[in-house]
């Protein structure tokens, strides 16, 4: 059955839909967690520490976090590999372009591939910046995420990279959520308006929620 799914274009879309929804669910939680920055460094750092103790004593220290990380890596890889293979198939299926050009489909729909690449690169930078601290602006302090976040958003490039990526995220989610519903066969005429509304609300809330953090640092609300 796994073979049938992976070999079929419809099956690969299913993989994309499921992995996309897993990442989307994570992003909602991640965004809500980020908003704790507005309640001061103690609450934000405390929340980050609690994430490491989640599931104890049943789970060892940081195990819950590592389980989430493994699930996310699997989702990202599955999503990216299927996207790459499906895109290759799509490009091969339409080798010659029309001479008479016109804009096709909505902006969000047309930017799914480039938006996805931007998001993939962003994830790499984001982890190197705020998880490992490899490319962090000045003096990464493990266990002090509040200070690290303020550092990142005190640089112009940190803000630019982050905000561009979050706008790409909004567009990606807007088309992606609704598309996932169609791929999984849960869309219908009766539900279409509801699904489109949920997609738009998710896109807007995620983008605004994430972007509010750099904006707060830039305006001095968080410092």
């Amino acid at each position: 059955m796994a073979r049938t799914v992976w070999d079929s274009s419809v099956g690969k879309k299913t993989v994309m839909a499921v992995s996309g929804l897993v990442m989307l669910a994570y992003l909602v939680v991640h965004m809500l967690g980020n908003l704790k920055i507005f309640f001061g460094s103690d609450e934000f750092n405390g929340y980050a520490h609690w994430l490491r103790t989640l599931g104890e004593p049943f789970l060892h220290h940081e195990w819950a976090l590592w389980i989430v990380r493994v699930v996310l890596v699997v989702a990202v890889v599955a999503h990216a590999v299927s996207a790459y293979q499906l895109s290759r198939r799509d490009i091969r299926a339409r080798p010659s372009k029309y001479v008479h050009k016109r804009a096709r489909a909505s902006y969000a729909t047309r930017t799914m591939r480039w938006g996805g690449i931007i998001l993939g690169l962003f994830i790499v930078w984001h982890i190197l910046d705020l998880t490992t601290g490899t490319v962090h602006a000045d003096g990464f302090q493990a266990g002090h995420p509040y200070q690290n976040v303020v550092d990142t958003f005190s640089t112009w490039y940190g803000n630019v990279i982050y905000i561009v990526a979050m706008l790409a995220l909004g567009l990606h989610v807007q088309h992606g959520f609704w598309s996932a519903a169609q791929t999984l066969g849960v869309g219908s005429r009766a539900r279409d308006r509801a699904l489109k509304t949920v997609a738009n609300v998710l896109a807007l809330v995620l983008t605004l929620g994430f972007v509010s953090v750099p904006v707060a640092v830039m305006t001095g609300v968080v410092s």
Partner: protein, 249 residues
């Protein structure tokens, strides 16, 4: 009406093609697009040139033979087939671009004619029902609920012209395939092959080199018969159901 046409000319499947410019005069707004091309061809023949090859048959909008991408739109600016498109949809003095369907699975045979036999092979993979032939059975012997009959009929309207493939930026045949699957899978007559139909037809669709669906909605916008985009959702649902059932067996 006086028009400038830019038409894709290609000698055969292996030759390189290019757009050629022609002037046509004396076009009536009541002519169909194909009649306008007939007028051009008559002039070309009189001049001793090779007429433009294009597919057509019933010229009533029901057979699915005519094609043509007109100014970037499959079947042109109106939501109908090219044979039912009339020259009143254009302005006097317009320049009109005429191109063949573009897809790897639909190779150009000559000029504006493409080979659509990939669709026939998708149908052969499962677009039929197993039924005894002979005299037509009593219609009431197999009751079909009205909503199911309406749903089946909506999808049965597909004439297999390939406009969905031509319009799709991925050259996907999802709308065509889903129309055929939904049409038969909802009816009791189609029930015995419900699972094999969707699995085999989707596999054949992939085999033919069509692209995948990215839900741009271009296919449903171009479809002269108004097959809805949700048809693809229905096919995905049937495919997942059939895959789960096949996995249990």
């Amino acid at each position: 009406m006086k028009l400038t046409l830019r038409v894709w000319r290609q000698k055969n499947a292996d030759a390189d093609g290019a757009m050629s410019t022609y002037e046509v005069d004396g076009i009536s707004p009541d002519m169909s697009f194909l009649e306008m091309l007939d007028t051009l061809n008559e002039e070309l023949i009189l001049k001793g040139e090779d007429p433009v090859a294009f597919d057509h048959d019933c010229r009533e909008g029901i057979c699915g033979a005519c094609s043509l991408v007109i100014n970037g739109d499959a079947h042109g600016p109106e939501r109908t087939t090219t044979c039912q498109l009339h020259m009143r949809s254009f302005e006097d003095g317009d320049t009109i671009d005429v191109e063949p369907w573009r897809a790897a699975a639909f190779p150009v045979v000559k000029d504006l004619v493409v080979d659509r036999s990939a669709f026939d092979r998708i149908i052969q993979a499962g677009g039929y029902i197993t039924a005894p032939t002979g005299a037509a059975p009593e219609a009431h012997s197999t009751p079909v609920p009205k909503p199911d009959a309406d749903f089946a009929f909506e999808h049965a309207e597909c004439i297999g012209c390939g406009a969905c493939v031509a319009a799709c930026p991925n050259g996907a045949a999802m709308l065509f395939t889903s129309a055929k699957i939904n049409h038969l899978n909802v009816l009791p007559q189609g029930a015995p092959e419900r699972e094999t139909r969707v699995l085999d037809m989707v596999a054949q669709m992939d085999e033919e080199g069509f692209g995948g669906c990215t839900l741009t909605g271009e296919c449903a916008t171009a479809c002269p018969k108004g097959i809805p985009l949700m048809s693809i959702t229905g096919m995905n649902k049937e495919w997942l159901r059939a895959t789960r059932k096949a996995g249990k067996r």
